[in-house]
């Protein structure tokens, strides 16, 4: 799975996710696709999110929309909201991660796997690529 989230100079957010699913999947399974609300979500009032991982758990936890709701309604920051939803996914038995950009341009990664291929950049000069947890 690959994904991106962005905030442009006008303050608009967007999110996108694209995936090949899982090896050997059958029966027209679509639970591992990035369903809107679970794997992908964007709301200028809060954040934009793209997820990767065992999709069915992200559906059941309502991960992407849940992160935005926690930020908008409970005032959580992007990292705290993302961490909480990834913990919930893990408690159900799922794994994976999310990338988040907030309405104010803050970016966050959260994942419960040993690594996630990831990167981020901004207008201030941040430019980083990482793979493993540390």
């Amino acid at each position: 799975t690959v994904g991106a989230v962005a905030r442009d100079v006008r303050g608009n957010l967007a999110a996108g996710t694209s995936t090949g699913g899982t090896t050997g999947k059958r029966w027209g399974r679509i639970g591992d696709s990035p369903v809107i609300g679970a794997g992908t979500y964007a709301d200028n009032r809060a954040c934009a999110v793209s997820a990767t991982g065992t999709g069915e758990y992200f559906l059941r936890a309502g991960v992407a929309q849940g992160i935005c709701a926690m930020m908008r309604l409970a005032g959580m920051d992007a990292q705290a909201a993302a961490d909480q939803l990834i913990v919930e996914v893990g408690e159900m038995g799922g794994d994976g991660g999310v990338i988040v950009v907030s309405a104010t341009g803050e970016t966050a990664f959260s994942f419960n796997t040993s690594g996630m291929y990831r990167g981020r950049a901004d207008s201030i000069g941040l430019n980083e690529i990482a793979i493993f947890t540390d």
Binding site: T1, G16, T23, I36
Partner: protein, 176 residues
């Protein structure tokens, strides 16, 4: 506060340092940096967030290192089943597509569905018909398939014949 910002991912999983050679790590790092640069360039030039998303994801979909577009994992039958979704935060318009095997860039189809505005989520043959009607590039399924993913499917199928592994797989795949 930053004027613009972007974050990208190329998937998460059981990545172990032991299995990652310096050469392979350099390949992934370079691919991620190229995709990040493509998105950042759009934003730096004053472009829209949604155009930055497209710039990043179309690049990653064409890169066989990642499980999306070319280089996607294979289904049980040996084909591909690609999915994508897209959403903009100002209007909360959204589009998604599932079960694709001919659309070169599924993310462009997800965006086209969003912009068309009649539906949010299309699947299978109907989604591909929609893609063709909107002039999106179509390719033969073989274009997506790489030797690495074919090997993975063969190993996966072989594991189904191993009683111990089959048991574990069954336990592992209780998602519902």
């Amino acid at each position: 506060q930053a004027d613009w910002s972007i974050a990208i991912h190329g998937g998460a999983g059981t990545l172990s340092r032991e299995a990652m050679t310096p050469e392979r790590e350099a390949e992934y790092t370079a691919a991620l940096q190229a995709a990040l640069d493509a998105g950042a360039e759009v934003l730096r030039a004053g472009g829209e967030a949604q155009d930055a998303i497209v710039a990043v994801i179309t690049k990653l979909e064409d890169d066989p290192l990642f499980n999306a577009g070319r280089g996607a994992v294979l289904t049980w039958e040996g084909g591909v089943s690609l999915d994508a979704s897209f959403m903009r935060g100002d209007t909360r318009e959204a589009g998604a597509a599932a079960g694709l095997s001919h659309v070169r860039h599924p993310i462009l189809l997800a965006r086209a569905i969003m912009e068309d505005g009649r539906h949010v989520f299309l699947s299978g043959e109907g989604a591909e018909e929609f893609a063709a009607d909107h002039g999106l590039e179509q390719v033969e399924t073989e274009w997506f398939i790489t030797p690495r993913r074919r090997d993975s499917l063969e190993q996966f199928r072989a594991a189904q014949d191993d009683p111990q592994v089959s048991f574990n797989e069954d336990e592992e795949h209780r998602y519902g």
